[in-house]
Amino acid sequence: MRLSFLVLPIALPLALTATAALAHGPTPQKVSQSITIKASPDAVWKVAGDFAGIGKWHPAVAKAEGSGSKDGGTRKVTLKSGGTLEESLDEYKPEARSYSYRMGEPDLKALPVSSYSATFTVSPEGDGAKVEWMGRFYRGDTGNEPPENLSDEAGKAAMNTYFSEGLKGLKAAVEGGKAK
């Protein structure tokens, strides 16, 4: 473990250079998180359906701006930890309370992955709502011997944390009646 601290500052810039060109890899991994919210699906969608409004409920997001919630719409998400996620909507389906999107250029400072796509869906559950946020991503270093911080495991941990913390923030925002 101690060794990796020594290696990291050297390995990271190299890996950044290598993966920016690849941008994806041959073996994808799953990320999947869900949460139940005590509110109607429509009430949840009112908050979560605004693609560029993620800054209003995701605790890790410092700010977000975008071009609109529609097919082809984009958002630029700046994380508190540094780094930005530039994402674009593939399909925006308000009637299904669902949208799917994918990332543009990788930013390993934001998330240690080289590429991802994801789907966000709000559906009825009991007298409340269920929110599912799931996707497919490729590790930060798509080569055969990725460093620990850019491995499948590192990508899984980071993506699952980003999604689950986001959903907790959304729940708090909706159930608390106001965005963060």
């Binding site: 690849l22 041959p26 073996t27 799953k30 593939d90 994918r102 497919r136 055969n144």
Partner: protein, 314 residues
């Protein structure tokens, strides 16, 4: 050539009469090869970690392991793992000759194509491709077509010598490709431009590019050549196009993150990567008739060739 073809016909008839039309499904995270016969799971085999692409030929089934620097060889009839061929790169796309003796593997991060002896893994020839070669197909005339994902082109090689015959620009990020049964057309799914490029394999040029769904990741053509089926990974659907007019014939809802698609005996099989299932679509009605549960992360499918005199005499 004719003697060799006759021999391979003989071998395929004698060795494996029962398995023609068997569909093989490779599950990446589950590290399994599943055999599907007549729309039902017939058996499964544990294989080495993270198989990506499956190909069939000569009664054998082959799997690439991009992270494991290997290709696995499986007996198609029994599902038994026969051997592991070491591979020096990140093998992703794979094609097998009809007799199962020769493999063509795309090295994703090595940006090249390799021809390999299936018996022992000997590297017979190698040639550079564009950036990040993904899937590839072999035609009966001995040509190899490779989707160069990050170069937005299809590379065409003489399979015997691995010399480049042509480079054909297509849409953005081509990934999967399929030949029409008469091999006059090659269909290429472009992952980032969400469309399908139609290539004339005679003139080796693109004829048309038509929209499909979000993130097309798999392509197959019906046995009569009349319909093109494209999986849309993001949309969770299969787009069915009329091959003559390239007009939309149907959109079939399948599982989440569908990837590979293969057609056998009147049915299309779709690997639903996220849902850990295979959708079975009736080609006559274009309806999903059942969904088979398989090991985690099914990505790729291959069909054991049905012996046909036309194929064997080429």
């Amino acid at each position: 050539m004719i003697r060799r073809a006759a021999l391979s016909l003989l071998l395929s008839l004698v060795g494996l009469p029962a398995q023609a039309g068997t569909v093989y499904v490779a599950s990446q995270q589950g590290a399994q090869l599943t055999r599907v016969e007549a729309g039902k799971v017939a058996g499964s085999t544990s294989v080495a970690g993270a198989p990506a692409t499956v190909a069939a030929g000569g009664g054998l089934v082959f799997l690439t392991h991009p992270d494991g620097q290997a290709i696995t060889v499986v007996d198609g009839a029994t599902g038994q793992v026969l051997r592991r061929l070491p591979y020096r790169g990140q093998a992703f796309g794979l094609a097998a000759s009809a007799d199962g003796r020769t493999l063509f593997a795309a090295d994703w991060s090595g940006h090249r194509i390799d021809r390999i002896a299936a018996a022992d893994g000997t590297l017979e020839a190698s040639a550079p491709t564009g950036r990040d070669p993904a899937h590839l197909v072999l035609d009966r005339a001995g040509r190899l077509f490779v989707a160069d994902r990050e170069s937005h082109q299809v590379s065409v090689f003489d399979a015997a010598r691995l010399t480049r015959l042509a480079t054909i620009p297509v849409g953005t990020a081509p990934f999967a490709l399929a030949l029409s049964p008469d091999e006059r057309r090659l269909y290429v799914g472009n992952v980032r431009s969400n469309d399908l490029t139609v290539i004339d394999t005679g003139g080796l040029e693109a004829l048309a590019t038509v929209p499909v769904g979000a993130m097309p990741y798999g392509v197959a053509v019906s046995p009569d050549g009349a319909r093109i089926l494209v999986t849309n990974q993001h949309a969770g659907t299969v787009t069915v196009l009329d091959a003559g007019t390239l007009a939309l014939a149907a959109t079939v809802t399948v599982g989440r993150y569908p990837e590979g698609i293969a057609i056998a005996q009147g049915r299309a099989y779709v690997a639903n990567w996220f849902s850990d299932s295979v959708s079975v679509i009736d080609l006559a009605t274009l309806q999903e008739v059942t969904r088979l549960t398989v090991a985690e992360g099914p990505r790729s499918l291959a069909v054991a060739a049905e012996p046909s005199p036309k194929e064997e005499t080429r």
